[in-house]
């Protein structure tokens, strides 16, 4: 958090930063032992994500070949570039890099943060949950994680089936939790699902041990395959521990046509909300057309993982400098 008296001093203690360095080494050797190699991809890219709820930063490149200036976007995650590597035959890869997301700042958010992302050809999302669980156990000394489907956990705590209930039922459930005004004006099912999940589900799960929630509603599939047994759900998972969302993973969508349709759908939603449409990344679509191996991939908020490993209560406590004194 920015304070009125901004200090030049690091927001984390030097001791914490040293421990953080040790943990980063442990993460790297975890992957080295498993034959997953480290890659670097550009932070600046000519395209960005169309995600309705992700706001990217952009900047202007001026130089040879771009005398008039060319817009470059700071990555919100290295996903697209890493998928292009997969399509080019990289095999299993991981990356530790900075990701940039505008409008996100608070106790658990910094607009610039460190992301760990990796891809495993031949894995589905359950295999990858297992591997992530092992990493979290190593870094945070946790017990093995629980696993529960989105539908199950939502029914348990909200008493509604998220895959079939009506908008009116969601509004009513939100109103019962004291969100009457917000709910009354809301027409988007997903916003209400997210509100109820944040408020009624997240605080109830992953308190003693981490908790995987998998098979999110298809409307929140992002870049995940749909569940072949129940296409109302997507093969996407999230990992929660002590009120923090730590990771998001997919059994990766590898169908270029379907991916393009989802991007266009995102842009339609953006337009209907008066937000700016985003250019769809043609390079990613070409790579998907060329073919990526069947794989699963996951992105982990490394700062948050370290917060938990080091028992810190805010993201600033593990950052050298947060956005308030960067």
């Amino acid at each position: 958090m920015a304070s009125s008296s901004v200090s030049w001093r690091p927001t984390a203690s030097i001791a914490t930063l040293q421990k953080r360095a040790e943990l980063t080494v442990a993460v790297r050797s975890f992957f080295a032992r498993r034959g997953v190699w480290e890659v670097e991809t550009p932070c600046l890219s000519s395209a960005t994500v169309t995600d309705e709820h992700l706001q990217g930063f952009s900047t202007e490149f001026v130089g040879p070949g771009a005398a008039q200036g060319r817009t470059l976007y700071l990555q919100t995650s290295p996903e697209y570039a890493m998928k292009r590597l997969l399509a080019a035959g990289s095999g299993a890869i991981f990356q530790i890099c900075k990701a940039y997301r505008n409008e996100e700042s608070g106790r658990w958010h910094n607009p610039e943060f460190t992301m760990l992302e990796w891809y495993r050809p031949g894995f589905d999302h359950f295999d990858l949950m297992q591997e992530l669980d092992e990493l979290v156990q190593l870094i945070c000394s946790t017990e093995p994680a629980e696993r529960i489907s989105y539908q199950q956990v939502f029914m348990q705590h909200v008493k509604l089936d998220p895959l079939s209930c009506s908008l009116a039922e969601l509004k009513q459930a939100a109103a019962q939790l004291g969100h009457g005004e917000l709910a009354a004006a809301e027409t988007d099912r997903d916003v209400l699902l997210q509100l109820l999940f944040c408020d009624a589900v997240e605080p109830q799960i992953g308190q003693q041990r981490p908790c995987f929630v998998y098979d999110f509603p298809a409307s929140q599939a992002a870049l995940a395959k749909l569940n072949p047994d129940d296409p109302r759900a997507a093969q996407r998972f999230e990992l929660y521990f002590r009120n923090l969302e730590l990771a998001n993973g997919f059994h990766e969508l590898d169908d270029a046509g379907e991916q393009k349709a989802r991007f266009e759908q995102d842009n339609l939603k953006r337009r209907s909300q008066g937000k700016q449409e985003k250019p769809i990344d043609p390079m990613l679509l070409q790579a998907l057309e060329a073919g990526i191996p069947a794989c699963a991939g996951v992105a982990v908020g490394l700062d948050r993982l370290f917060m938990l490993a080091l028992a810190q209560s805010s993201i600033s406590d593990v950052l050298s400098f947060d956005v308030g004194n960067a």
């Binding site: 004291g178 917000l182 509100l195 929140q220 969302e245 998001n248």
Partner: protein, 189 residues
């Protein structure tokens, strides 16, 4: 009237909610994975004094409340209104019973009070944190008691009833913390 987005919410901002002016106490940013971001905001309603938590979609805007705090001296009451004066401009403002509320018992002439105005009218009157009150009535109490075990009730000139140590007598002036309503000490002369 100005509108404020959730990004501008911070402790002390005055906004309108359910037709009532409110003070923002805390603002926490929450965002589900790849989903809509929300701000969980803790708010105090300025008229009812109720504290509640309210969730907004991040980026939503709310109408600001035209609320302002003035430091004014308490003058007198005519039974219906309580009159306060700005010592620099000599401008006077009258607050009604609803605005003064329970704090009536802490109003001492010439004490500086905080008057909160909403759209130009007083909605709350906050006395100074400490006031000095004369005791008009209390039991004589036992001689020799200095530890103040339990104490005894004392009625003050303003009508306030405060628990005081047994050694404090009628006619004495005591210092009271208006936030807790507790006796602090005998007044320094």
């Amino acid at each position: 009237m100005a509108f404020y987005s959730t990004n501008e919410f911070k402790a002390g901002l005055k906004i309108m909610l359910d037709g009532e002016p409110c003070n923002v106490l805390e603002n926490e940013y929450v965002k589900p994975g790849k989903g809509q971001a929300f701000n969980r905001v803790k708010i105090r309603k300025l008229i009812s004094g109720k504290v509640l938590e309210k969730t907004f979609k991040s980026g939503d805007t709310v109408e600001g409340a035209d609320v302002m705090d003035l430091s004014l001296s308490y003058l007198y009451t005519d039974g219906e209104f309580w009159h306060f004066m700005n010592n620099d401009t000599f401008e006077q403002i009258a607050a009604d019973k609803a605005a003064v509320g329970d704090n009536v018992k802490w109003l001492v002439e010439n004490d500086p009070c905080t008057i909160t105005l909403w759209n130009g009218s007083p909605i709350t009157v906050t006395p100074p944190n400490f006031v000095e009150l004369e005791i008009t009535e209390t039991d004589p109490g036992l001689k020799g008691d200095t530890a103040g075990t339990g104490g005894k009730p004392a009625t003050c000139s303003t009508g306030a009833v405060v628990r005081v140590p047994l050694f404090v007598q009628t006619g004495e002036v005591i210092k009271v913390d208006t936030r807790s309503g507790e006796y602090v000490s005998r007044a320094q002369k």
